[in-house]
Symmetry: D2
Subunit: 342 residues, 4 copies
């Protein structure tokens, strides 16, 4: 279905039945340098039974997870689309086999196992490999990603918070203890398992906040921003569910430590992201729709009274998960960073 001008990398997708796996498979099908050779799942069935949209597009059966078998098939990298907890159990055998891993779960994102344990409510399952994991935000960690054996693909919300604030934190322009990230997400962010909160007649025509003050993406945002700042950064993060399939919009409030204009701020952001092909700095508020089905993360920054307001928009399934995973894949295997993503 495509004409690869160089040899394609053989890839596996673990946990093929969810939304991030579906999105990933669609991207990989169009990728000039990737070949999907295996999809794992508890149920062995044609992948198009799990995802009818793949009917006649991808003729593969899902299979139980078996690292050795994947190795035997020539798999060089596995994309983990398993739930957190389950993911850590698959990573160790893969790495042992010499298969590199891009893990889309939250299992390897928090560097400090104690912080992980606090927010996820149980000890980390694989503290040994955690030490070697690279946080897969390409705009910040491209070099480390290139050589990583285990990439912790970043969370959907955190990318808007981290990339939305990175220039301000880097330039020490804001108070690091007074940051608010107020986010809205489409319902696909809740996963594919039916539950009342994602039942159409419950969430359609409604907006509601959830996990106020307790969402697990909070420490992920703080970890990255603290790395940039060199000192601890504290964030209040409030997610909301809004009635749409996909898209995340974050409205970020920070307190500048010196006077600054809109024009200065925009320039600062444009300079900071000069070499980032997927970060677009706009001068008008970004709509999530304009990022839908793309790997772009759109930003707009404005001064309003005593605050700097950053608006960030992305597609939660592409930029927020599977697209950035492929961006990481491109870095890891020496492809153009945008391959398969434009």
């Amino acid at each position: 279905m495509k004409t690869a001008t160089k040899v394609a990398v053989k890839v596996a997708v673990l946990g093929g039945s969810g939304y991030t796996a579906l999105e990933l498979l669609k991207i990989l099908l169009r990728h000039p340098h990737a070949e999907i050779v295996a999809i794992t799942s508890r149920d062995a069935q044609p992948i198009s039974d799990a995802h009818p949209s793949l009917f006649r597009r991808l003729d593969l059966r899902t299979e139980p997870f078996d690292a050795d078998r994947l190795k035997a098939k020539g798999v060089e990298v596995a994309f983990g689309c398993l739930p957190h907890g389950a993911s850590a159990e698959a990573v160790a055998p893969l790495l042992t086999c010499g298969i590199r891993v891009i893990d889309l779960s939250a299992d390897y994102r928090l560097r400090d196992a104690a912080v992980h344990a606090k927010w996820y409510g149980e000890p980390h399952h694989d503290p040994v490999n955690l030490k070697h994991a690279v946080y897969g935000l390409p705009e910040l960690h491209a070099d480390a990603i290139r050589t990583a054996r285990l990439v912790a693909n970043p969370g959907c919300y955190p990318q808007t918070g981290i990339l939305g604030l990175a220039p301000l934190v880097h330039h020490k322009l804001i108070d690091l203890r007074d940051i608010i990230v107020n986010s809205c997400s489409g319902v696909s962010g809740a996963g594919r398992t039916p539950k009342l909160a994602a039942h159409f007649p419950e969430c359609n025509e409604s907006v509601v906040a959830y996990a106020v003050g307790t969402h697990r993406h909070t420490p992920e945002i703080e970890q990255s921003l603290s790395d940039i700042a060199g000192v601890p950064v504290e964030v209040i993060f409030t997610p909301h569910l809004v009635p749409m399939d996909r898209g995340i919009h974050s409205t970020i409030y920070a307190t500048p430590t010196r006077p600054v204009t809109d024009a200065e701020l925009t320039q600062l952001y444009r300079d900071y992201y000069e070499r980032a092909p997927f970060v677009r700095v706009r001068t008008s508020p970004p709509a999530t729709k304009d990022t839908a089905h793309t790997n772009f993360l759109d930003l707009c920054v404005k001064r309003v009274r005593g605050k700097v307001i950053v608006l960030a928009a992305e597609d939660n399934l592409v930029r927020g998960a599977s697209g950035v995973a492929v961006q990481n894949f491109n870095l890891m295997f020496g492809h153009d960073e945008t391959a398969g993503l434009l």
Copy 2:
């Protein structure tokens, strides 16, 4: 919360956790002649825990079903919002206690237990009371409803099919073996139990047909139309799920047995429904939105080439379930047919 000018009828609602129960409770709260004295459910909890919208509007705890206890509370009529099958088990003890029943399930709609068994896949649970049940479509059976002890509240789709075709069948204007009812329903019609088909990211931004040729509302439509015709009527009924909370739209195709104009058809319908306060015959296509949260069923009838096309729109939870149940209640207890419904 309301000033009843005559003594209110004490009512119970069985199976309080679903959407039809919620809609019914909201209507009853506004009804001038009804008092909700009990709500049954497997879980005993404040009803506002099951339905947060009722917080500070209805201060009742749900209780397990117990016909004697309802009788002791003075309940005169019970609205059954239980799933089919379960409903039949509650009806017998209620009737024994002398409590009248308006059953919103499908259990007593099909007069012939054999037909019921064929479409529902098991023998009828309560054939004795089935014999005495009155099909609760007020526009057709008001007299029988007034004195009924057991009313089988009509299905949501069937009302559009039956009332959409009744004038044509009554006047023998169409071929009774060549009728198509093509319907679209909002997702609340699928009930409140989470399932993949009603999971927001699955059904949003999508239209899909289901139960093609096998939907259980088919024999319900045919039974009523056959009663009107005096001979068997056959219908092809195709339901579709569309991404909205509520509303049913049916597009009905029939073959006229003699030439007829739009104007004649409209007049025929207006005459037929002259005394029906909730059937509105329009000359332009009805939008489901214009019937939302009301008990109106809107119709429009047109001649197109060799067919008569009837368009029907209603709110599936009000007109299609709980509103018409209250309309039946009004008839049964001598209230104005529209009480609490305008």
Copy 3:
């Protein structure tokens, strides 16, 4: 269509073609003590031509605005549903005729004509009557509303901000210069005139911020909170459009001036709103859906790190406009505050 036990007040609705007018007409049709005797509009037509949902529910023709003619019909109060600017032109002749006015536009909300001119970009059209206008937020100004000749019905967003913050401001619990009101609104808030921003394929499946730092509801929120505080209060208000018909959700961030617990905060709010029949203080995040089609404004207040977060939800067309207008009407004419609204 209803049995009024006391003489109904004759009312007029000005500007009958929009969404707030439609919502108002629906509420008034159910109101036990109101009689709609006139609806004005530039186009003279059956009101059901403008609003098909009113077909066979309200048999009135719209008429051009003429204060004397309304007076001759016995109108005691007019609800103004005109755009801002246009509204001020109708108010003066009405008051001259002795007709009381509940104005749903923004024309009389800002007490200071200079502030109005600054935010609305032109001098106030009717500074004389502006002096006598009462801001119609019943929870704060019931006494003044009762005797007012001109009530400025409050804005949709401001009610969430004002009632969401009033207890904190009243008790001097927060920093009055560090308040953020981050709001999401359904699209009906944009009015009924077609425009690209409200075109279905543009705003569906999208979230976008607008009027960042410049929305006209900002000074309205500040005026009310400053009145409560006795000193100037400053607010950053950021509205967003989300893909739903109706509903406003506000997430409010304030900085407490002393330590405080969730339980204390909840109790403080419950005490403050003890006699407010339409303000519900909840302990879990309110969904806009649970307030849809009602006059309730739901609040939830929580301490998160160094902030107090208040979540507020309402129906923008009922509580945010036409419902609170009827609540004001009830106060003005000595009816129960909840008449027609439960």
Copy 4:
């Protein structure tokens, strides 16, 4: 942004501000053998001002239409995304210049100028070129398309009707005078110009039929099916608007002229579309969502009582317009039929 292994064809897009143009541009950006060299529009502006989603993806300014200028730029083919009527005025000068045209408007679809005049209410603007236009449905007319100078890209609804019925008509399996095509479309089908019918709060949460018996896609369906049959075919076509961005679902009813089973029908369809890469014959009802953002048209065919029911689903903007236009482009320029479309 892509590595073309053969020289890319220079293309122009006429009428760049609408939804089909946007979709087309996105597809062309990914196409390995196409280069967008011009976009015409009445307003000269960066294309990303008209379509913010193209910011930093396509750096072109729109320009006024000028066939000679397009020729000078080396344009070999122009995609017409103009409204009907306007399109015909651009086609003649383009053909004169030797630029091939794929016209997405309805202007050249009806071969008979008299039929066009009857349904579109005015004489055809360009009867000369009409004679040479090829109807661009690749599954039926691939050979003619390959050499065509002017391709009339097929309508969105008609493709579901034509491809949904072609196998039955070809095999003379149905009564050609008793066919119903009942269709639902997402709102993007109504175009990008704001109008009340497509205003979010009007069409969200609603289903409504429109143009009952009068829709201009009726003769388009009939023309193609008549060609296949060799005798006139008559169709009743009823479109409906449903609250989603994109997607068309058609439920087609036909009367078989001999007994036939589901299995036979499915096999008949699979054989008929054996070489059609974008027609998928399924055995369960197709959801529009499974075709979203793809060029696939999904079919399912079933026998129900005395009828054959065909279910058809597609994306109205891709398969229904811009995707099939690129499929035609591929045929016209000797590329793989699926290039840029998988």
